[in-house]
């Protein structure tokens, strides 16, 4: 906070300028593009596959436009000074995701797979729910600082969400990772996606209170501030939980995501680089340690090191008891075959990835059909969302808001990195999905909620006359470290 007030030149940036224009019309203009681009993409897919504009084009365009319009009106009404980029960027990704999911629904190869059902209508429904949740968050959460009250409830909530997949009868072990729960009649859900947000609330609330103790009480050793033994407690607990996730849910991605998010927030809260060093060491030790005895992780690492061998093994009858998958190699081929400009919408063969082509591996379809150019654009869109999130954190006036915003943005960035890096063979594959692009209800709902919270924080930050904190808790914490 101090640096913000010391360097007023930064106030010329979009967020944080006192008395800045609301930028709602900018948002609306951008939203038009965010709706029109996917509509063109949708028409393109239809033309490429059937030679005609798809019959659902009007309905689809109207649907997406309507949802975007509602979201915009809600923002206009309840968060008038929110960041103008977040909503259009998320809408664009969500719309493109819908197109690709619909495009993969048209694949004869995927249709011939067991258990196939069209995912696009479902995804459109989830998107509607996602926008509804987005609106609800903005409507009910008038001030993000209210969330501070629920710090410890959030902790329990997050723990419960994380444990749910392990409960017999409720949890479902799908393809090696136990990160789903199955609700009869509703389908499967990934509680981890929601836990991400709830945990961020907990970390932000907790660190805001403890940051001074964690930051100031330390010894200096070899240029690093070593925390006191008793202050190590929280990070050890989070680390232990991450390791437990890794061991029991065999999900490297979720584990990495939570621990990474915590380290980022800890670093921001304490301004102590030593936490980063500790965090990296601990995650390295944890990951290597677990990988040494967990066969599922070992398989993932092997597949990452030599996807071609894994592909060949998947085509033979092997007796090593390991499920060999050709997915990664198929994904790499999809990317490679796309080349610089891609094959064009609907003209690739990314359906060869078969299972999870429209969820975990959805980026491969973009890679093949839109090429290097398309993927770079999409990665930059993600990068922009993260950048707007971090900027929101910079502009936020309260430490809780700062921590929450950076936690959510950091988690979002890590998730994008872990998933995209996984399907591109940069790091071992994990069982997570690309936010907004991938088919999956939990992911869409959770990420719309995440965007809503960021929008709420940015609105509070940019609002010309910040409303005085309504609750005494917030007042007290501000006394601890006046800004």
């Amino acid at each position: 906070m101090s640096s913000t007030s010391n360097t007023p030149t930064h106030h010329t940036s979009t967020i944080g300028a006192i008395g800045a224009p609301s930028r709602r019309n900018t948002e609306l203009a951008l939203l038009v593009f965010a709706v029109v681009i996917p509509v063109f993409a949708y028409a393109n897919v239809g033309l490429a596959i059937d030679g005609s504009v798809p019959a659902g084009l009007l309905g689809y365009g109207l649907g997406l436009g309507l949802l975007a319009g509602i979201a915009h009106l809600v923002v206009r009404k309840f968060a008038a000074y929110a960041d103008p980029l977040l909503l259009p960027l998320a809408t664009l990704l969500n719309g493109l995701g819908l197109v690709v999911i619909w495009r993969l629904d048209q694949s004869k190869l995927l249709q011939s797979l067991r258990g196939f059902s069209p995912a696009a209508p479902r995804q459109l429904l989830y998107t509607a729910f996602g926008i509804a949740l987005f609106a609800a968050v903005l409507f009910f959460l008038k001030d993000h600082r209210v969330l501070q009250r629920y710090t410890y409830i959030s902790m329990f909530g997050a723990l419960i969400l994380l444990i749910l997949p392990l409960i017999p009868g409720l949890g479902a072990n799908l393809y090696g990772a136990k990160i789903w729960i199955r609700i009869p009649g509703l389908g499967s859900l990934q509680p981890g996606e929601f836990a991400k947000i709830v945990l961020a609330v907990f970390f932000a609330g907790y660190l805001m209170v403890k940051r001074d103790a964690l930051a100031l009480a330390s010894r200096r050793f070899m240029g690093l501030y070593l925390p006191r033994g008793r202050d190590l407690g929280p990070i050890l607990v989070v680390w232990a939980i991450s390791i437990l996730i890794l061991v029991f849910e065999t999900d490297l991605g979720t584990s990495l995501l939570f621990f990474g998010m915590f380290v980022i927030m800890l670093y921001v809260a304490t301004e102590r680089t030593s936490w980063i060093v500790f965090g990296l060491l601990m995650s390295a030790v944890g990951a290597v340690g677990v990988a040494s005895f967990e066969p599922h992780i070992q398989t993932r690492v092997r597949a990452w090191l030599d996807p071609m061998r894994e592909y060949q093994l998947s085509r033979q009858v092997t007796h090593d008891g390991i499920l060999h998958s050709d997915q990664l190699q198929q994904s790499l081929w999809a990317f490679g075959s796309g080349g610089t400009l891609g094959t064009g919408w609907g003209q690739g063969h990314s359906d060869l990835i078969k299972f999870a082509a429209n969820s975990d591996f959805v980026l491969a379809t973009f890679g093949e059909e839109l090429g290097l150019a398309g993927i770079m654009a999409i990665l930059l869109v993600y990068g922009l969302i993260v950048e707007r999130g971090v900027r929101t954190a910079l502009a936020a006036r309260d430490p809780f808001g700062k921590l929450l915003a950076v936690g959510l943005s950091g988690a979002f960035a890590l998730q994008v990195f872990v998933v995209a890096g996984g399907v591109m063979g940069l790091i071992p594959l994990t069982g997570m999905t690309m936010p907004f692009l991938a088919s999956g209800g939990s992911s869409v709902l959770a990420n719309w909620a995440l965007i809503a919270i960021l929008i709420r924080i940015s609105d509070t930050a940019r609002r010309p006359a910040p409303a005085p904190a309504a609750n005494p808790d917030a007042e007290m914490t501000q006394v601890v470290r006046p800004s």
Binding site: S3, V268, G339, T340, I375, L379, V406, L414, F417
Partner: protein, 492 residues
Amino acid sequence: MNKPLRRIAIFCGLLVLALLIRDNYLQYLRADQLSSDKDNRRVTIERYANPRGDIIVDGNPITGSVESKSGDFRYKRTYKDGAMWAPVTGYSSQAFGANQLESIEDGILTGNDDRLFFRKTLDMITGKDQQGGNVVTTLNAAAQKAAYNGLKSQGGKGAVVALEPSTGKILALASYPSYDPSAFAGNTDKDSKAWNKILKKNDPSDPALNRALRETYPPGSTFKVVTAAAALENGLYKSADEKTDSPLPYIMKGTTTELKNEGNIPCKDADMREALRVSCNTVFGKIGADLGNEKMLDEAKKFGFDAEQFTPVRSSASVFSDDMNPSQTALSSIGQYNTAATPLQMAMVASAVANDGKLMKPYMVDELQSSNLDPVAKTDPEELSRPLSPQNAQILQSMMETVVKSGTGQKAQIGDGVVVGGKTGTAQHGVANSANPYAWFISYAKLSDNSSPVAVAVVVEDENANRDDISGGGLAAPIAKNVMEAVINSKK
């Protein structure tokens, strides 16, 4: 709090940067390698996305393409008279790849060849689907039919090769039993079954083997033509009618083994014309031994032995050994011991003799065409070697013509002013010659203007036939005659 926030922003930027770099590596640096990886199914999908060009014989396509209803491979190869043409076309199967012409000229047939680049680019700009070019062969449909039906009607395994002596054009290339490449052109279980059926382990008659190019047989007495050529070229005997120094019985040099003739034939000191007419083992065995391994090998090599031929479909190398002692050389010179020849090789021998001693490189692709029939490449006849001087070639011709006129090859006579020269062969094989011998016949036809339109080699291996029935003159010569007639008639 803002300093670490900025650092986190940089960190997130680095994450995105890492992804961007990785993506550039994948989609730019490694794109070509990944997209053309043979295991990448897109390569095969692409290959079958458009109808293949055709292989053409006498102006008519012997292949076709049909759109398949299922799967991700759109077009499937079809063949007309697939079994008859299989030794020429090879196969192109969605499931099992391609071989022979289908494989060698794949670039032209799919339209991917660099020589079609301009056409391809034009199609791409005008939005047309890529079209494959055609492969125009040198084959003669009538001759091929005569060859295949001849083999089929005698029922055993065998092969026929017919060449145009003056150019080296392959006119017929038949192998029996054969397979229909249409049966497994697709990608279904039915195709797999058809494929499995022709594998050697499931069918001992090995229908997939291209006997005309890829199987070597002991050439037996047909090799005596090479031995006679060696005798003339090396000046051992100057003419066909010069008496040879040939004892009977003939005990091979350095051994106590007698080299025997088939039956009681007049071989003692017989001239070469007579020795070839009745097929004297003693005379030609001794010529080989007298000339020695080295000179025989030289002559055999000039005829194409010990080298693979690329027509462009590869043929196996025929064998004439080096490092043999005189008795082994004697046996080799009558087409036994280690000597082995492909039917193509023996057709080349007949063709070189017919072409006045000049051996032309055998080829079966006359022209490559783009999809709109513009020529892309044309094969020019090419001289491979000169195993005989023109004078000696004419001497050998008159000897071979005697064989057909009054010797073992009488069944190949055509008449009508067509002069035929030939040589029969009955090659023994198996342990202690226990297996049924191979029946050989090599010949050429000469028209009244002294030009030779066709030389042919026929080999028939029939394990079920009565041993006595097998002789080159009886089984193989009629097939050769029909093939030659077919070529002559098609030229009229």
